[in-house]
Symmetry: D3
Subunit: 238 residues, 6 copies
C-alpha cells in the first residue's frame, strides 16, 4: 500500500503551465503532484569555446532548489560558495538528456540553457526538471524557427523522465517523498518517444535488485513517460 493510496503503476497528476515567465525564450511551470519546477530556456548567440567555428550549437542544463523547497530549510549553495555533488550530477543529467533529442548542427551557433529551479519538492525533482525542460526547449526552438534564426527543426523527438523504485518490495511508479526516502531501490529513466532509452540509472539503496526487478521498473517508466509525452504534447500542441 503506497502512502498516497496510489496503485503501483499510477502517476501523480501532471500539469504544465507554459509561458510562466516573460523574459525567457521558453518557459513552463511543471508539476508532478506537489513537486513544482520552473523551467526556462534561454537562447544566447555565444557558444562554448570548444565549439567555436564548427557551426554547431549547444544545449546545457542547470538545476537548483530554492532553500525552502523542502521540509526543512537548506542552506543556499550561493552562500556556501559551491554547488553540491547532487546538484552537479543532476545538472549534467539534464543537459545530457536534452542533447539526446537535439541535432546540434541544425541548432546552428546558438546555446540554449535550461534552468530548472525547484519551487517545491515532493520527490522526483530531477525527472520533472527534464520533462519540463523539454517543453521550455520546444517553445524556445519554435521561436527560433518562427523568427528565421534557424530553418530546420533541431528537435528530433520528445524526451521525458520519470522515477520508479522498489517500495516495500513492490515496484512502483513516480515516487513521492515519503516513498523516495524509504525505497529499497531508486531508479530514474529518461526515455525518448518511440521506445528508445536515453539514460537509465538504478541504485540499490536498501537491498540490491536483480535483472527482473530492473525490467519491471523499466516497464513502469514506459507507462509513466507515455503520460508525460501526452502532457508535453498538449502543452506545446506538438
Amino acid at each position: 500500500m503506497r502512502p498516497s493510496g496510489r496503485a503501483p503503476d499510477e502517476m501523480r497528476a501532471i500539469t504544465i503551465e507554459t509561458g510562466y515567465t516573460k523574459h525567457a525564450e521558453g518557459s513552463c511551470l511543471i508539476s508532478f503532484g506537489e513537486t513544482r519546477v520552473l523551467c526556462t530556456a534561454s537562447v544566447e548567440d555565444r557558444i562554448p569555446p570548444w565549439l567555436r567555428g564548427k557551426g554547431e550549437g549547444w544545449v546545457t542544463g542547470e538545476y537548483s532548489m530554492l532553500p525552502r523547497a523542502t521540509h526543512t530549510r537548506g542552506q543556499r549553495e550561493a552562500a556556501k560558495g559551491k554547488q553540491s555533488g547532487r546538484t552537479q550530477e543532476i545538472q549534467r543529467l539534464i543537459g545530457r538528456s536534452l542533447r539526446a533529442v537535439v541535432d546540434l548542427k541544425k541548432l546552428g551557433e546558438h546555446q540554449i540553457t535550461l534552468d530548472c529551479d525547484v519551487l517545491q519538492a515532493d520527490g522526483g525533482t530531477r525527472t520533472a526538471s527534464i520533462s519540463g525542460a523539454w517543453v521550455a526547449l520546444r517553445l524556445a526552438v519554435d521561436g527560433l524557427l518562427k523568427s528565421g534564426a534557424i530553418t530546420q527543426d533541431p528537435i528530433t523527438a520528445k524526451v521525458a523522465a520519470i522515477s520508479c523504485g522498489i517500495y516495500k518490495g513492490t515496484p512502483v511508479l513516480d515516487l513521492d517523498y515519503p516513498e523516495d526516502s524509504s525505497a529499497d531501490a531508486d531508479a530514474n529513466f529518461v526515455l525518448i518517444e518511440g521506445g528508445k532509452i536515453a539514460e537509465a540509472q538504478a541504485t540499490a539503496e536498501g537491498a540490491p535488485y536483480d535483472e527482473e526487478g530492473f525490467l519491471r521498473l523499466l516497464r513502469l517508466a514506459q507507462i509513466g513517460c507515455a503520460q508525460v509525452f501526452k502532457a508535453q504534447g498538449e502543452a506545446t500542441r506538438k
Copy 2:
C-alpha cells in the same frame, strides 16, 4: 510621461498569494506589476551563536534572483561561488527592515529566515521582497502563536517598502525596469505603518538631487506604502 502611461504617483497592481508553498511556515507570492517574488518564512529552533542564552530570537533575510528572472540570463551565484555585493546588500536590508518591527524578546529562541527569490524581475525587486517578507513572517508568527510556541505577538507593526525615483525630471512612484534603468535618482524607502521610517536610501545616478527632491520622493513613498499596507492586511486579515 512614464513608459507605462502611469501617473507619477500611481503604483502598479499589487497581488499577494499566500500559502504559495506547502513546506514553509509562512509563504506568499507577491507581485508589483510584473515583478514577482516568492517569499517564505522558515522557523528554526536554533539561533545564531551570539544570541545563545539570552532568551531572544532572530530574524534574517536572504535574497536571490533566478538566472532568467531578467532580460538576459545571469550566471548563478552558486556556480560563480560567491554572492554579489548587490545580493548581500539587499539581504542585509531585508533582515534589518523586518527586525525593525519585531520584538526579539517576545519571539523567544526562534530564528526566522525570510527567503526572497525573484521569479521575474521588472524593477523594485528588493522592495517587493521586503513587503512580501512581512506577509510570510506574519503567517509564520501566527502559526507560532496558534501552536503555543510563543504567547505574545512579537510583531509590533506592518513594514513595507517601495521604490521611487526622479525620472526625466519628475519624481515618480514604484519604478519599473525601463524607468529604473534611466532614472536620475533612485530611492528605496522602508516605512512602518503609522508614519515612521525604518530605512531611507536615495542615490543620485545621473544628477544629484536636493532636499526638496528628497522630500517629494518620501511623500510618494508614503502614498505607495499605504497601498502596500492595505494589501498586506487583506492577505493576512490583520
Copy 3:
C-alpha cells in the same frame, strides 16, 4: 551628553596628510578623530570591458579594515576567502559617491581605483574613506592634467561624507564608536559642494525615526560636510 563631551553639532578634528605613500598617483592619510584611513588613487590605462571603445574612463572604490583596526581582532577577509557584505556595500558606496563628481568622458580611457584601508577605526570609517578618497582622486587627476594625459578637468565638484545619528534621543554629528554602537538611528550622507545630495542612507537601529528626525540629521550633515570641504580644499589648495 555625548561620551566624548562634544556638542551635538560638533565634529571631531579632521586632519589630512597628503602624499602619504610614494607609489600611488594620489594619496592621503585622513583622520576623523581617532578614525584613520589611508586613501590611495591608482591610475591605470586599462578600463573595464563594458567601457571599451567608448572613450570614457571609470572610477571605482575598494575598502578594507586592517585586522586590528578595531577593538577586537577580526579575521582577514583574504584568509576567509571572501569579502563580507558590509565591505562590499561600502566599496559600492565609495565608487558611486566619487563617480557623482566625475565627468567620465573628460577622464578619457583611464581607470582610477580608490583604495581606502582603515588603519584605525573609531566610527565613521566609510565617510572618512569617501572624504579622503576625493583628496587622493584630486591629486591623481592633477597629475594627469599636468602630464597632459588629459586636458580638461573631469572633477566637477568636491564630494564629502559624514555620519550622523540619533543618540539617546538627540541628533548628533559625526558619531564615534561608542555612539555608533548604541545609536537609535544611524545615517550616512554624501554631499556635493554647493548643496546637492549624492547619497542619503538613514537606518533605524533601535527605534524608527520620522521625517523631522531625518531632516535634522541632514542639517547636521550639511554643517559637517562644510568643514570637510574646507579641509579638502586646504589639503589640495583647491
Copy 4:
C-alpha cells in the same frame, strides 16, 4: 573490430597489487589494462555527525585523477579550488557501491574512507576504482577483525564494477579510452557477487539504445565482473 583487437566480451588484463602503500590500513594498486588506480582504505574512529550515538559506522569514497594521468594535462582541482561535477559524481558512486556490501551496524563506530587516485587513465577509471576499493576495504576490515576492534565481519559480499558500451553498433565489454571516447552508449554496472545489481547506469552518447541493447550490456557486465570477483578473491584470498 575493436581498436585493441579484443573480442567483444574480452576484458583487459586485471592485476591487483595489495599492500602498495605502508600507511593505509588497506591498499592496492589495481590495473585494468593500462588504467591504473591506487586505492587505499583509511580507518578512523570518528564518524559523521549524523551517525553519532547510533553505534553504526560509515563507508565513503573519494576520487581524483593525477593531472597527467590523461593524454593532455588537466588542471589540479586543488588549484582550481573546486572539484568538478564528474569527480563528485564518481565519489558518490564509489561510496554508495561499497556501502551496498557493508553492514554498517557490524562495522561499529568506525569510518572507512576509500581513496581512489588514478595514476594512469585509459578508460574505466571509475569501475577500476570501485573494484580496487573493495580490495582495500577487505584488507582494512581484516585488520579490524584481527585486532579485535570489531568481532563480526561487516562485509556481506564482494562488489565489482565494469564498463560496457555500444561501440560501432556492437556491445563490448570493458571499454578502453579509444572506445570510450566514441561509443554510442556507455554503461557502468556495479554488481554484487551472487547475481544482484547494486547500480546500473547506461547513457546514450551518440544514439539512444533500447531494452535489448541494455540487456546485452548487462550480460557483458556479468561476464566481466565474474573475472573481477576472481581477481579480488585471489588478491585477498577470500
Copy 5:
C-alpha cells in the same frame, strides 16, 4: 655601485614608531628606508584546538600588502578569494621566527597574532615585518606581565631579520627594490641576538652561488641585524 649610493654593508635608515595604533596590545610602524610596515600584536585567550589543555600558548603571524604599496597596483587577495603562495610563505616565516624566541609554556594559554601590513614597499618587506613584529610582541608581553596575566617573561631573546643579496657580483646588505628585482641571489636571514640563526634562506635568482658567497651574505646579515637589535632595544627600552 648600488643604485642608492650605499656602501655594500650599509643599511638603510631604520625607524620604529611604537604605539602606532590604539586598539592593539602592542604595535609599531617600522621603516627600513622607504619600506614601511604596520605591525600589531593581538592577544587573545583562545588558543588553537591542538594546544588545548596543555597549558601552552601560541604565536602566529599574518602578512599582507596594501594594494598600492607597490609600483603598480595589485589586486586585493580578499577580492581574489585566496592568499597567494608568496603571502602564505611569508606568514609561515613570521610565525616560525617569532616562536624561535618565545617559551610557549611561559606564555600560558594565550595566543598572540602578529599582523604585518605593508603600507609601502621598497624591498625587504618580510624582514622588516619580522623585525617590527618582535617590537609589537615585546610591548604586548610587557602588558601581560604588568597586568599579572603571566608572571614570567616568555621572550628569551631579540629576533631580527634582514635581506642580503648578490647584486652585480657584489654581496650587499639590505636590498631595496631596484636591487632586489635584479639580484643574482637573494637571501633572508633571521638571527637571534647572541649569534644564533633561526632561519637562513638563500635563493639563486640569476646565477647559482657557492659556499663562500653564502658565508659573505651571512656576515652582512650579522652586521645588519646588530643594527636592528639596537633599534628594537631603543624602541622598547630593553
Copy 6:
C-alpha cells in the same frame, strides 16, 4: 643513534623508475627509502601571458600528497577548496630549483610543468620531488630534441635536493619521518652538479643553530647530492 640505524652521513636507498606513466612526455617514480614520488613532465605549447612574444619558455612545478600518503589521512586540498601554504611553498621551490638549470631561451616557446605527487611519505618529500622532477624534465627535453622541436639542449646541469637536520645534537643526512618530526633544525639544500648552490633553507625548529652547524649540514648535503646526481645519471644515461 638514528632510529633507522643509519650513520649520520648515510643516505637511504635511492631508486628511480623512468617511464612510469605512458602519457607524460617524461616521468619517473623516485624513492628515497620509503618516500615515493611520482614525477611527470608535461610539455605544452602555450606559455604564461607575461612571456608571450619573447621567444622564451617556462618551467613550473606542482606538488601534492595523496590523502593517505601519511600516517593519518589528510583532507584533500581539492575538497577543502584551497592549497595549503606548505603546498604552495613547495611548489614554488620546485619551479625555482628546476629553472636554475634551464636556459629558457633555448627552451623556446614551450611550457614544461613538473607534477610531483607523493604516493607515500616518509620524510624528504620536497627534496625527492625536485630530484625526480629533474629526471622527468631531462626525459621530456630529450624528446623535444629528438623530435626537432628544439635544437639546443636548454638544460645546463643536473640539479638535486636533499634534506639534512640536527637530530639529537648531531647533524644527519636525509631525514626520515621519525627524525624530521623531532629534529632541532631542518634544512633543505638544492645543489647544482659542479658545486654551486641553487637554494639553501635552514630552519631552527627546537633550538637555533650557528654558522658551524649550518656548514656541517651543507657538507652532508654535498655528500647526499653526489649520490642523487649519480642515480639521476644512471636513470637518464647522461
